[in-house]
């Protein structure tokens, strides 16, 4: 109790060290350096951000899909969207098309578009859509975006300014090129110091903090705050501090992936507008269209299917979508992971971002957005001194543990509404014991009331209630009609009818005016986007 004497001179946090140079490392460095101006002088003269990257370890290159949040992240870093498209083989991602998740039949599809239902700030269209659910699917009734998917149409035109849109979008990108692109920007424009060296040891201070790291070719690198972006090895938070992993394999079974890069058959082949997510017997296949190639992979549960059979399912998907020639030429890369996250992410003066913090199947592309959010919170609340760091760390841990729980709930939701009974995988996914209580409670509640703003406990909730609506009603979920006549819904009926009509008109208008993804990306290469 009582006032604690601090040493204001040596206590400042102004020397940050990022360990690891994959997408997570460079994205973290870029987000922080776009907020805090790096000084050319050495501390204590000013803020400095150093990234130590091993020249020997290849980046794993996970996360080829982003959320729309990446647009503002890039914009804030001062990146030209045109340069980003030209150098990262980027394409537009407007959401996800799920195939085979509900029944496994051929016509079993639904979409999760990035654009919220029309008029969502004020009006909940879900109860008004329910009576006409046999005539039109939920996503088409409330948003124009899914209609663009089938035409492989873009979310904007060449005359739309950079980062602006007609309908909301994120990106698909080449993770290797993206890391290199960010590195150049961080070093050349944002003053980040880049050290190429292998970390050989961690040197501890008296209070248990990391004082410095030793490297093989660059001596010791001291810092006030160390950010562990070293991937699943988790050099600092895992290997040094031994912070355990909270395993989630009992909820989300997928723990293996086979990944392939598949060329198009022709240069002019259409580029998909969304991630294709196609359910298999014990997992699902992602299919991501870049301008240069497709990234296709099978993420599955090794407890339910052998690697060989998983590979066969992947190859037959590639054969069915791109032809036998494409499937004969692919080489498959195996990735194994333990779904889960660290029990805490910030310990002492070390915080983990990216795969060092946790890893989960890429069903809703949560990897890169977690990096953006983590780096964003560090940038925003960068502790002024060591004394307040523990308080910021506590907040950070609470926030991101909550976020991981919400991600896990939301991913699990995709599985538990299925009617598939064809394999143990789908049956096990619906087992009560595998479903978190928090999710079970929500689904029980949603049988009587549709998801709405009241379901968001935090202002910065990762998945808004709109996302839950898209998945629930896409999967054929029924919210029962009201027990009572609700006056509020009666008065809203007229508004809802108008919103449905406006959405239909807007859908027509966009279908007629949006270019294809391929055409627009070619124009970006030739002319670029304007800034205004």
């Amino acid at each position: 109790m009582g006032l604690k004497q601090l040493n204001p001179m040596n206590d400042k946090i102004q020397n940050l060290v990022v360990v690891g140079g994959g997408t997570a490392g460079w994205l973290t460095a870029g987000v922080i350096a776009s907020e805090h101006a790096c000084s050319s002088g050495n501390p204590p003269d000013g803020f400095q951000l150093t990234l130590v990257e091993s020249p020997d370890i290849a980046t794993i290159g996970v996360g080829e899909g982003t959320w729309p949040s990446m647009r503002s992240t890039l914009l804030k870093m001062g990146i030209s969207e045109t340069d980003f498209f030209r150098e990262c083989s980027a394409s537009f991602k407007q959401g996800t098309l799920f195939t085979g998740w509900q029944t496994g039949a051929g016509n079993d599809t639904y979409t999760h578009p990035f654009t919220a239902p029309h008029g969502y700030a004020e009006t909940n269209l879900a109860p008004h859509w329910q009576p006409q659910r046999d005539n039109i699917n939920f996503a088409d009734a409330v948003s124009p975006q899914s209609s663009l998917f089938s035409g492989k149409l873009a979310p904007k035109q060449i005359s739309t300014p950079e980062y602006a849109f007609q309908v909301n979008y994120g990106y698909h990108l080449d993770a290797g090129k993206f890391a290199e692109f960010l590195r150049k920007h961080c070093v050349e424009k944002l003053g980040v110091v880049h050290i190429k060296a292998n970390v050989t040891g961690v040197n501890t201070a008296d209070n248990g903090d990391i004082a410095s790291i030793s490297t093989d070719s660059h001596g010791t690198v001291a810092g006030d705050l160390f950010i562990d972006c070293s991937g699943s090895r988790a050099l600092l938070l895992g290997q040094h501090y031994k912070i355990p992993i909270c395993d989630k394999n009992d909820i989300l079974f997928n723990n293996s992936a086979l990944a392939a890069q598949v060329p198009y058959n022709g240069d002019g082949d259409p580029i998909e507008s969304c991630t294709l997510s196609t359910a298999q017997t014990a997992g699902w296949i992602w299919d991501i269209g870049l301008p240069t190639r497709r990234g296709i992979g099978h993420v599955y549960s090794s407890g339910h299917i052998s690697q060989e059979r998983a590979g066969d399912e992947l190859l037959s998907y590639i054969t069915a979508t791109l032809g036998a020639k494409a499937s004969a030429g692919v080489s498959l890369r195996k990735v194994e992971f333990s779904p889960g996250h660290r029990t805490k992410f910030w310990h002492k003066n070390c915080v983990a971002i990216g795969m060092s913090a946790g890893f989960i199947e890429p069903l809703e592309a949560s990897a890169l957005v977690l990096v953006e959010l983590s780096a964003g919170m560090i940038a925003e609340q960068l502790p002024a001194s060591r004394a307040v760091m523990d308080l910021v760390a506590k907040r950070f841990n609470e926030k991101f543990l909550y976020r991981w729980d919400r991600i896990i709930d939301f991913l699990k939701l995709h599985y538990i509404l299925t009617h598939r009974k064809d394999t143990d995988y789908w049956r096990d996914n619906c087992r009560q014991g595998s479903i978190p209580d928090s999710l079970q409670e929500l689904v029980t509640l949603w049988r009587h009331q549709s998801p709405w703003h009241r379901d968001s406990q935090h202002v910065d909730e990762m998945f808004p209630s709109a996302s839950f609506q898209y998945v629930l009603y896409g999967m054929g979920f029924h919210t029962r009609p009201n027990q009572t006549v609700r006056r509020s819904e009666l008065t809203e009926q007229k508004i809802a009818d108008r919103l449905f009509q406006e959405n239909a008109a807007r859908t027509q208008q966009l279908m007629a005016s949006m270019p294809t993804n391929r055409d627009l990306i070619n124009k970006v290469y030739t002319y670029g986007f304007q800034k205004i």
Binding site: Q157, I158, S159, T526, Y527, Q530, K531, I532
Partner: protein, 242 residues
């Protein structure tokens, strides 16, 4: 649709071009492309704005004749009521293009004139003769070629002009709310104008460089031309009142 053909005395010996102004000849347009070298003449009659080419998203400067699509407020049954008509209007139905001219050197190019044979101005009955009885270009064609060359020169110069506007972030989008005499409210949108405050804040060296390149004066001409919007509103009101 357009149907462009290379102009030649063999194929177009009897060709005549109608030079009257009117809706039938494609003059009922809201705006037409212009360029910095023409701004002095344009600003005496029309507001100068900037807009994007729909196909490329790139900016071009344009002279505004009306407040809505396909309506030129300067055009009436008696013609085009203005002291100056922009070159990109007067060039119709001709276009200038360039072909390699290896006879003059490997990289040399020569200008060629094309004509839109589907344009209502092109006919054999009335208007200005293009070639005389000897197959030589008439005075009309010679002056048209001069217009085309001026346009070409102007558009080349304008590339640098637009690039400078973008480099110094001098373009801004704007919306103009207009209330007409009958009380109806309209909004002019989709156009960009020069950000006057930013222009005033440029440092001396930048202003000097813009001046040397011939970009500074047209910037101020475009700013001043904004006053011509009043002319358009007055003409629109006159139509309502009339």
């Amino acid at each position: 649709m357009s149907n462009y053909a290379l102009l030649s005395k063999d194929h177009h010996s009897g060709l005549k071009i109608i030079t009257d102004r009117g809706q039938a000849y494609g003059d009922n347009v809201m705006h037409s492309m212009t360029f910095a070298l023409e701004f002095r003449d344009i600003q005496s009659c029309y507001p100068i704005f900037f807009c994007k080419d729909e196909e490329t998203g790139t900016f071009y400067s344009t002279a505004l004749f009306g407040l809505e699509q396909d309506h030129n407020l300067f055009l009436s049954d008696t013609g085009w009521d203005a002291t100056y008509i922009p070159l990109t209007v007067r060039r119709q139905p001709f276009l200038i293009g360039f072909q390699p001219a290896p006879e003059n050197g490997e990289t040399d190019k020569k200008s060629v004139v094309s004509i839109d044979m589907d344009h209502n101005r092109a006919n054999k009955e009335s208007g200005e003769q293009v070639f005389d009885s000897n197959g030589e270009p008439t005075h009309f064609l010679q002056s048209t070629i001069k217009i085309l060359e001026n346009i070409h020169r102007g558009l080349e110069h304008n590339k640098g002009f637009i690039a400078a506007l973008i480099k110094y972030e001098l373009l801004e989008s704007f919306k103009l709310d207009i209330t007409l005499n009958d009380g109806s409210k309209h909004q002019l949108q989709g156009f960009y104008t020069i950000a006057e405050e930013k222009l005033h804040k440029l440092d001396g060296q930048t202003l000097g460089e813009l001046n040397v390149d011939g970009y500074l004066q047209p910037m101020f001409m475009a700013v001043a031309s904004f006053a011509r919007v009043r002319t358009l509103i007055d003409k629109k009101n006159a139509l309502l009142d009339g």
